[in-house]
Structures are given as structure tokens and as C-alpha cells.
């Protein structure tokens, strides 16, 4: 059977352009013992992909090789199987790539329980939810009554961070790039305050929303919010650095804050990425499933249609054009 896949054929410069990719038509192979065939139904698009395309020896995981199918996580259904552990009809989540079909031996895949939608999986139980959980709960160690600021709050990670923090009894302030997103954060997700970072007097608004100062800052964006929140951190504050999306598409990364306040306020700043924590993923998924079942984690999916829509669509992540977790429905 023929299917389509998208390969990375060129490394990105400042922007992700269509010429970086090549769509190919492949033939599903005959399965060997211990293999099964997956039909992907939902493919996740994430900001981290820009890094995966880039050949940086210091990056946290090896880049996608040129000529390889582009890397991504997704939800898929087993449609043919010579593997004892995976039956036709089973659904899985894992790093499947920009492809309609894939052959697997099960490595790196997690089976999904019935009754959970693919959207919920990609929004909560995969990269965004796991990243939010790891950064906020494991690194930030939030305590009820503390104040959290999260930048990129309407993004797939930020929206989970804010909701987890609310569930833990924190005061939650988010920043986002449109008034619509801010309304969604306050009205639907229960943020105490959402601030449009493009509006006037950003510093004054952040200070007003966090009159006791900021104990936890979950950084997704960089940019002006970083400097304002940094100056407003409380003693023993924790900063979790997860994303710097404002700087991904520039060749002149903006300077960070001077370090004197790191001493004066005894701050801890921790960068993290999920590949260091794959072992902990099954346990985290179970914990996230509980929040989800209790109705504490809402989400919205921004769905593109068809494999090749990813090629242009991925840029929505960098322009802020997506409303909700970006994914491709296949």
C-alpha cells in the first residue's frame, strides 16, 4: 500500500521554509515477526521541532538527519500486526514522525487506554502536558499560596502549567499575545490574570497582578516579559526555562538580565528538556490522567488537515497564529 511521508532535506536558517522538506511516496513493507503497522491519525507540531532540524552539537538530542523523515510525536492505530503485544485496533502514542504509516517494533511507544481522545492525548498526555508537569511540579516544587507567572500562557505547554498551578492552589498570572487568548485563559482556564504582552505598561500590569512578587516563573518565550518578571522575583524564587520562542527565529538573541539579582534573591534558574526524563514519563502520564479525569485540565486543539499541511503550518507556532495545541489530522 502506498503512503506519504515528509523528509527533512535541508537545515533551516532563520525561518522554516517549504524547501526544507520533501514529500515522498513510499510503499508499506511486509511485516517481519515482532513488527506491526501503524496508521497515524493525529500528528503533533511543537516548537522544539526547530531545534530538531538544526545541527547543533550542543543540542539535547541529535538532530534529524537530512534525508530522514521529520521527527514528531503522534497518535496512531495498529492496522496490521505480527507482534504479540500489539493487536489490530490498539492505539499508541510516541515519536512516529511526519508520515501517514509507520512500521514499529513497539519501542518508545505507549499504548493508550480506550476512551481517551487523540486530542486529549496530544494536548495533555504527551509533550505539552509532560513538559508542564516536569517543569512546574518536579523542578519548581510549587507550594499553595505562591504566585506563578507563565509566559506563552496560551501555548500548549503554558496553558497546562497554569492549570496545574491553579489545581495546586497558586495564584496564576499568564502572558499571551492577543486579547482573545487572554480572555480564554481567564474565562475558560481559570487564570487569576492574563496579560497581553503587547499592551501598554506591561511592567505595571505584571506588578499589579502579582502584588506579593513572583515565586515561580515558567519561561516559554523570552522577550520583555522575562526581564520584567525577573526583576519582580521574590527571595528563593525558582525559574524554569522551557522555551525562548521569541529568540528561535532570530540571529541576534536578546541579552538576558544581569545576574546580581540571582544572588540578592537567591534565585534558582533551571533549564530542562523532556528527553532527560523519558524514564519518568509513564508515571507522569498517570498523574496527568488523574487531573484530566477530574476536569482540571482543559485544552483546545488547533487542527490542520492532511500530512502536507504541516510544512507551512508549523510556522503558526512561531508567529503565534495558532489557537490551541497545533496538530495535523491525517
Amino acid at each position: 500500500m502506498q503512503y506519504k511521508a515528509v523528509k527533512l532535506v535541508k537545515r533551516p536558517g532563520l525561518n522554516i521554509t517549504p524547501d526544507l522538506f520533501e514529500t515522498v511516496t513510499l510503499e508499506t513493507p511486509d511485516l517481519e515477526e515482532g513488527q506491526f503497522l501503524l496508521k497515524q491519525t493525529h500528528m503533533s507540531l511543537d516548537p522544539a521541532m526547530k531545534g530538531w532540524m538544526t545541527d547543533d552539537r550542543n543540542s539535547y538530542i541529535p538532530p534529524v538527519e537530512l534525508g530522514e523523515i521529520m521527527r514528531s510525536s503522534g497518535v496512531a492505530e495498529v492496522v496490521e500486526s505480527k507482534h504479540e503485544g500489539f493487536a489490530v485496533g490498539d492505539r499508541v502514542v510516541g515519536m512516529i514522525g511526519w508520515t501517514e504509516y509507520a512500521v514499529s517494533d513497539g519501542q518508545g511507544l505507549n499504548k493508550l487506554p480506550p476512551g481517551i481522545s487523540a486530542e486529549a492525548v496530544l494536548c495533555v498526555l504527551s509533550l505539552p502536558g509532560l513538559t508542564a508537569y516536569q517543569g512546574l511540579m518536579e523542578i519548581g516544587r510549587p507550594k499553595a499560596g505562591e504566585t506563578l507567572v507563565v509566559s506563552g500562557a496560551a501555548g500548549s505547554v503554558g496553558s497546562m502549567v497554569g492549570q496545574l498551578a491553579k489545581a495546586e492552589g497558586l495564584t496564576v498570572v499568564g502572558t499571551a499575545g492577543t486579547d482573545d487568548k487572554c480572555r480564554w485563559l481567564e474565562d475558560e482556564l481559570g487564570f487569576d490574570k492574563a496579560i497581553n504582552y503587547k499592551s501598554d505598561d506591561l511592567a505595571g500590569q505584571i506588578r499589579e497582578a502579582a502584588p506579593q512578587g513572583v515565586d515561580l516563573y515558567f519561561e516559554n518565550t523570552g522577550g520583555p516579559v522575562q526581564h520584567i518578571v525577573f526583576d519582580h522575583m521574590n527571595a528563593h524564587g525558582r525559574i524554569m526555562v522551557c522555551g525562548m520562542i521569541a529568540d528561535y527565529n532570530t540571529d541576534k538573541p536578546s541579552p538576558g538580565p544581569n545576574w546580581i539579582n540571582i544572588i540578592k534573591r537567591r534565585l534558582t534558574i533551571t533549564g530542562f528538556t523532556m528527553p532527560d526524563h523519558w524514564n519518568e514519563v509513564p508515571a507522569m502520564m498517570q498523574k496527568l490522567a488523574v487531573y484530566l479525569a477530574e476536569g482540571k485540565l482543559k485544552y483546545r486543539a488547533h487542527k490542520l488537515e492532511g500530512l502536507e499541511s504541516a510544512i507551512e503550518g508549523i510556522n503558526l507556532l512561531f508567529t503565534g497564529g495558532n489557537t490551541g495545541k497545533l496538530m495535523v489530522v491525517l
Copy 2:
């Protein structure tokens, strides 16, 4: 009996100037039950004093009030006592202040064992050694075989950090401001490499001295070393931020590095000050005493003579003019 003390009467601007201080002549009071009289013999001068003079609500300890005797640690001898636990002839270390004599009830003082010099106490068993131990050992958690860079390496803290790291089996690179200091670090203290930060091609020299990259950076200075080492950190590197002496005497603190590498290399940056760790001091002193007894911690004292020499002499800390731990012999 009359004695001299120095009060803080004005808050500093960019620089510490003589008009901030006033020397007063006081009379030793009659002792009450539970009190004793101390004659200070050695008074420590430390970079942290600039912060103690400044009224910054965000600072880690309350400032010295105007009209109060300036704060400092020192070694003193009990010369008169109505306290059961302190006999005439006992020696103590603690926050005694810029004064020749002081009355105490023992609070906050640690008694010294016989046979240890006042220089060793102020260089190793008080603020510099404790700060080095806390930052390197408790926060940095060094592992044999790793590479450490310490800025301000010839300073009172930096020289202890480098020697502790050598004792733990690390490769140790230090930066300092003169060739003389660099020679002392390499020849006397056993640093693997010491680099004059004012010399040409600082970045190239640091990279050459740490060919495997940097696992631990102990930050005492800020300035150009910070940016170069930051760019050369290994994955899972730890940065302990202890001092930013390059920025203490400026009203335009220099920007810090962009945060993207904090994510890519999963760095942890931790600011700390000793007042958060007073409880742990007795245990740390015991551990430092072992290194000292084993001859693993060398030190040199830069001695000024007479109480009032502190008024001008403190600036040696900010010009880099001191060679060794700065102290006043009374």
C-alpha cells in the same frame, strides 16, 4: 577603658568613600551577669559589605542602620567575663563589627580551638571558606573528573573554591586580574590553569584550558568571563552565583547571557548567600578544618594595620588591589 569604633553614617553611592564613616571613641561599660568583654584582634573585610551598607529591601539581610557600628566578622579574645561559658583568654569568631572592643552574651559567636591562627580562621573557617564550601560542595555537587572554572580565583572565596575542587579531583581553571595572582594560583595553590582576564584572547585561553567544556562555574565577578564560560558550559552544567564584583560599583549593570543555552544544555544557575545557611555553619567548619589539617587549603592574608585603615582599605576589594584575604590587624 576607652576604645575606638567606626560607625556607618551615610549610604554609599557608586563608591565607598571615607565620608560614609565616622570614628567614635567609646567607653567600655561595666559587665552585667552573662556578659563578657571582647578585644578584637583581627577584623575581616569582605566584598559583601557594600551590600550591607546599602538599603535595598530586596537584599538578603537587613542593612546596617545609619549610626550603627559597621558590620564585619572577626576574631577576638575574651579579656573580662561574667559569663560561665566564656573565660578570659578564650578566642572566638563571629560578627563583631568595626570596633576594637565589644560586649557580648555569646550569641552568634563560635569558640575557637587552640592552635589555629586568626589568619586561618578568617581565611578558611569564616565567610570565605564557608561560602566556598556551600557553593561548591552543597550546591555544585562536584564529581571527580569534572572541570571547574572559578572567576575571581585569587580572591578569598575563589582561592578556597579552587583548592576544594582540586581536593575533590576536578580539573580547575581560575581567572584573576594580574599575572602575579595567576602564578600564585598555579604554583602555590595547584590550579591546573590560571588566566589573566585582562590578557588577549580570553575566550581562546578559557577554551584551551577546558578542552572538555565546563561542568561547574563558580561566579565571583561577572564581566567578560561570565559570557565566555557560559557559552562553554557542558550539558547539565551547574553555575553557582556568589559574587558580581564587576558590577557592584556601577550604575549600569551589564546584561547577562541569553537564556537559550540554559535550555539546550539544561543548566542550573543558583544564587546563594551564607545567611541562609547559618545553621549549617558548625558542620561546615568541622569539614573545612579537616581539609586545613591535611594541608589542602593554603591561604594568604593581606593585612592592614589599625581600625581606621578599613575606611580606605575596603576599596582594595573592588579595585583588585588586595593580594590575599583582606583583614585588619588591631
